[in-house]
Symmetry: C2
Subunit: 217 residues, 2 copies
Amino acid sequence: MPGIKPQIPHQSNRSGRPAAESSGDVRAAILDVAQDLFARQGYAATPVRDIATAAGVTPAMIHYYFGSKEVLLRTVLERAVEPLAEAIETLKATSKASPDFIVRTLMSTIARHPGLPYLVLREVMLPGGTMQAHFAGHLAPRLGGALPDILDTLQRREEIRDDPPPATAALILLSLVMFPFIVRPIAEQVLGVGLHGDALESFQDHVAAFVQRGFLP
Amino acid sequence: MPGIKPQIPHQSNRSGRPAAESSGDVRAAILDVAQDLFARQGYAATPVRDIATAAGVTPAMIHYYFGSKEVLLRTVLERAVEPLAEAIETLKATSKASPDFIVRTLMSTIARHPGLPYLVLREVMLPGGTMQAHFAGHLAPRLGGALPDILDTLQRREEIRDDPPPATAALILLSLVMFPFIVRPIAEQVLGVGLHGDALESFQDHVAAFVQRGFLP
DNA sequence: TAATTAATTAAACGTTTGATTAATATTTTT
DNA sequence: AAAAATATTAATCAAACGTTTAATTAATTA
């Protein structure tokens, strides 16, 4: 029988034709392309064939490496979410985490991975999201559960006011840090608020200052 | 030839079987169901057949009244967005529009139409949104273009600080007002921040106060 | 080098998709 | 009451979908 159990491909992969355009890891090429297309078009609107074509492989390869389109999405999400999750965990470990610093850290992390908000929002947070069931208890706590703890600590130290409860404060913070990037095209074209380069830094300053005032003791 | 030009159906509609479960307007029944399903599952993930079944009609009826699935979505969006657009226009016409009042007006309008944020976000604001091209210049200005004007007026009257430019302030405001409802399921289940009934009013208070401090002259 | 395993391809599978058709029933108009 | 316009159904279409299969080629192992 031909290859049935898809395993992690070996490092050196020299087949007849170098299927993946770049180095050699077909699996990684599929993941890269899928992440891009899922972020830009959404899971339901992205045919497996398109991913395969863009990755320079056959549709069968995707099922060979991932088994199903849904597993591919899950794999993409787990990989894509890592930078943000790490940023939040680092924040939690850092004792010197002022609201200003938190805002800047989160915003620049998201800015560095433009597709991330779309992926997380569409596939796990919005109702009907394909990964909602699987991620409700697996990913969301790692992303959203740590922030209230951080803010709780700040309140106990009386570095910020205790007015909004930690969870509410976390939701406010998340709103300011994520939403602008979610509606980035509209923000830039309709409102004229740039979120690239210098304009992004200026926007970060404004948001950080706004949050600082909002949390003022 | 059988009916070609779908027109606005007449008021009293008594056919063989009362196709639409409720009163008689089949077109409205389709619109209602489509709005609900599009909001809960997204356009790409909602088959025309499902809409037809849920509305108690034949798939052909949808093409009879709307011509295509895409026109149906456009019609749904134009209808669904009306309450929010009116709220913003009313705000603009009202001279007594403090930040507190703006926040409360927008939030309660959105809370009154739970599916609205999902619809607008998924189909017009997120990249790959089916209605992005058609609505970029047609709907977005009506929704997002008015807020900067309102905030500009407040700044000229020195009722709020002039620190963030009006457009930036508008984006901040929109973030706080929309995002919580977008991630409502996660907000409630993971963070434990309720957005219904009394809990919603409490949340509104916190956000309004936070915004008031952020805009303090 | 022979045998085995892994990677890949081309073709097709059955299903679901949005859309259309032709026929029929119901109103409305004349 | 006849004619015309409108509304609805059941059946069907071609295309696109995710997935599978069988065969083939390359790499690894024995």
